[in-house]
């Protein structure tokens, strides 16, 4: 039996447990965290090679065959996301060397991040709906602790909202799972897919599908359910916001992609069209929010909301170009959002303010920081040499093929507004007259920019070497569009 599939899940779990013993030995904790990230990347790349040559792999916990036991399923989509999640772990851990106060590091920051990653990777790899719920809770519990870690007034206020919203959505998740279980009598995704295909998704199942859309939409922050995100993501320190922006909403998006391509795909005119409408409104809201504020954290947070809309549009067009673009844009979005939040953290260290008007001219004293921000901004908007271009191009192509001209128009318009929102930060805060606090009041940004440059280099490579990553993303998209290979891998025996 191939134990490789469980390793990306076990490494962060075991590292997290070991880090609990280390208490205040910060240097050892940092080293172990980075080693764990690298180990996950290596094992997942091996796994990706395996999946690419031998097809989708399934792993049965405790040796119990599905639909009775819990299955972990590794297809290209899940593994690509695991790899990018651990890259974000490595980059943010490098940032914490200089970018996080000792107080927070002493109170279990590193183990919490490892447990968060366990939940994220588990949610990507699982093949069972209730197990997905459990991993959601693992990552949410860790994120509750991370959001409140440090205990400032804003953090306490925002964490109450965040916990409240997520407790409600978790309760809804359990209700939705209960409904689905009472209709089908199974919780294994492959088995669910086969059974719903047999009964051809009656109205009742479509209602349950929309309930799942509400549940995952709350985690992913789509239009009517995004209200908790702007506050929650701007409250904690920049490293933690970067982890949240790079991973948390993406898990919700992943769950929507998974559930609506493998289980509920028989009534796309209802479910996928609804997703499209919500995605379009999400893009509009995100773009409006991004241009409305003068606060760099708020601008970036609304960019996260807009990004969710872009990615879900690919699912709504539901053809190979759209799904391909969605998967590619999802991967791009993970690294670029993390990079932007880390850069914003570095900018705040220099300027001591988050308001655009109150500081300017960073470029003169900190050219590296300025140019990296420009690169990140261009990549976010989808300018050709960077990774954002390729994903958006495919999304637009998919939208045209599905004849969703209005949605594509909204996508283009909000891309423009998103570009405007980040370029405003660039022109007003980074260029211009030098208006910064006295040098001795500025923090030290040495070491804070390099993690983001590492992520930006990756984004650049993804854009330039798109043909290297192409076969893997294509494989991910084709598994999503043809769930037969997924079902066959799980239920073969």
């Amino acid at each position: 039996m191939n134990n490789l599939i469980i390793l990306p899940l076990l490494i962060p779990l075991l590292t997290g447990v070991i880090l609990l013993f280390l208490g205040k030995k910060i240097i050892l904790q940092k080293t172990l965290s980075i080693l764990s990230g690298i180990a996950i990347i290596i094992t997942s790349i091996l796994l990706l090679m395996d999946v690419n040559s031998n097809g989708v792999q399934a792993y049965f916990l405790g040796g119990w065959l599905p639909p009775f036991g819990i299955a972990l399923v590794a297809d290209s989509f899940a593994i690509l996301l695991v790899i990018f999640a651990s890259i974000i772990l490595v980059a943010t851990t490098l940032f914490t060397f200089k970018g996080l106060d000792l107080e927070r590091k002493n109170y279990y920051y590193y183990p919490l991040v490892q447990f968060l990653l366990t939940g994220v990777i588990g949610a990507f790899l699982t093949g069972d709906l209730f197990n997905l719920f459990v991993f959601f809770e693992v990552l949410l519990m860790s994120s509750y602790a991370l959001i409140v870690l440090g205990g400032t007034k804003t953090q306490l206020r925002e964490s109450i909202k965040y916990v409240l919203v997520n407790v409600i959505s978790s309760a809804l998740f359990v209700t939705a799972v209960a409904f689905l279980y009472s209709v089908t009598g199974t919780l294994n995704m492959a088995d669910l897919s086969a059974r719903i295909a047999e009964i051809n998704q009656p109205g009742l199942v479509t209602v349950i599908a929309l309930l799942f859309l509400i549940v995952f939409g709350m985690k992913a922050a789509i239009f009517p359910l995004y209200f908790w995100l702007p506050g929650a993501y701007s409250a904690p320190p920049p490293v933690i916001s970067a982890i949240f922006a790079g991973l948390l909403t993406k898990v919700g998006i992943y769950a929507i992609y998974r559930v609506f391509t493998i289980i509920f795909y028989h009534q796309p005119e209802v479910t996928h069209y609804t997703i499209g409408v919500l995605a379009a409104i999400t893009m509009i809201i995100g773009a409006i929010g991004a241009i409305a504020y003068n606060d760099i954290h708020k601008i970036l947070v609304y960019n996260v909301v807009a990004g969710v809309g872009f990615i879900l549009l690919g699912l709504s067009s539901f053809n190979s170009d759209g799904i391909f673009g969605g998967v590619f844009y999802l991967l791009h979005d993970m690294i670029i959002k993390a990079a932007l939040f880390l850069l914003a953290g570095a900018i705040v260290v220099v300027t001591r303010t988050t308001k655009i008007g109150q500081a300017s001219g960073i470029m003169k004293s900190y050219p590296l920081l300025g140019w990296s921000f420009l690169a990140a901004a261009l990549s976010l908007a989808g300018v050709p040499p960077f990774s954002g271009f390729f994903g958006k191009l495919l999304l637009i192509q998919g939208g045209f093929l599905a004849e969703q001209y209005v949605f594509v128009g909204i996508l283009l318009l909000s891309s423009l507004l998103v570009l405007y929102s980040v370029m405003r930060i660039f022109f007003l805060m980074i260029l211009g007259e030098e208006k910064l606090p006295e040098p001795h009041q500025r923090g030290n940004v040495k070491g804070l920019v390099y993690p983001s440059i590492f992520l930006l280099a990756l984004s650049f490579l993804m854009g330039m070497g798109a043909e290297v990553i192409y076969p893997f993303v294509a494989d991910a998209a084709s598994t999503l569009l043809n769930p037969e290979s997924y079902i066959e891998a799980v239920l073969k025996e």
Binding site: M1, N3, I6, L10, L13, L14, V17, I18, L20, F21, Y59, F60, L61, G62, G63
Partner: protein, 140 residues
């Protein structure tokens, strides 16, 4: 004001042992009867909380020599390692097995590796519950 709580303290000393023994019984019975690591751990924690109520938290901390957070971590480690242990026998993660052994005093007994996993759960529950209660209790 000093209240005379001799009866409470004496009764607690006796009752605590009964609760702990019963909790261990429930913990071991979990494989065939209602019980298991979770409820067993809660009961053991309840016994310590009773001690904490009758005496004070410092006394209970003296009884439990290691940091409670470390107990939680040890429990997690045991649970994960029993899962990983299956790799040695070329089985899937979390595969469990059982066998019959001739033990002194008890005679022929069924021993399952699931018990090892349950010890992990038991320790985690005790560690987490007592950490919560003591952290709240220490705040003045």
């Amino acid at each position: 004001m000093r209240t005379n709580d001799v009866i409470l303290k004496t009764a607690t000393q006796l009752v605590t042992f009964i609760i702990i023994i019963f909790s261990i019984y429930v913990f071991l019975a979990g494989h065939h009867n209602p019980g298991g690591g979770f409820i067993g751990g809660l009961m053991t924690a309840a016994a310590f909380i009773l001690l904490g109520l009758a005496f004070d938290i410092e006394t209970v901390k003296k009884i439990i020599p290691i940091d409670l957070k470390i107990i939680t971590a040890i429990g997690l480690l045991i649970a994960v390692l029993t899962g990983i242990g299956a790799f040695v026998f070329d089985a899937n993660f979390l595969s469990h097995t059982f066998g019959y052994f001739q033990l002194p005093l008890l005679g022929k007994t069924e021993l399952a590796t699931a018990l090892l996993f349950d010890i992990g759960v038991y320790l985690v529950v005790i560690g987490v519950t007592l950490t919560i209660i003591f952290t709240i209790g220490e705040d003045q």
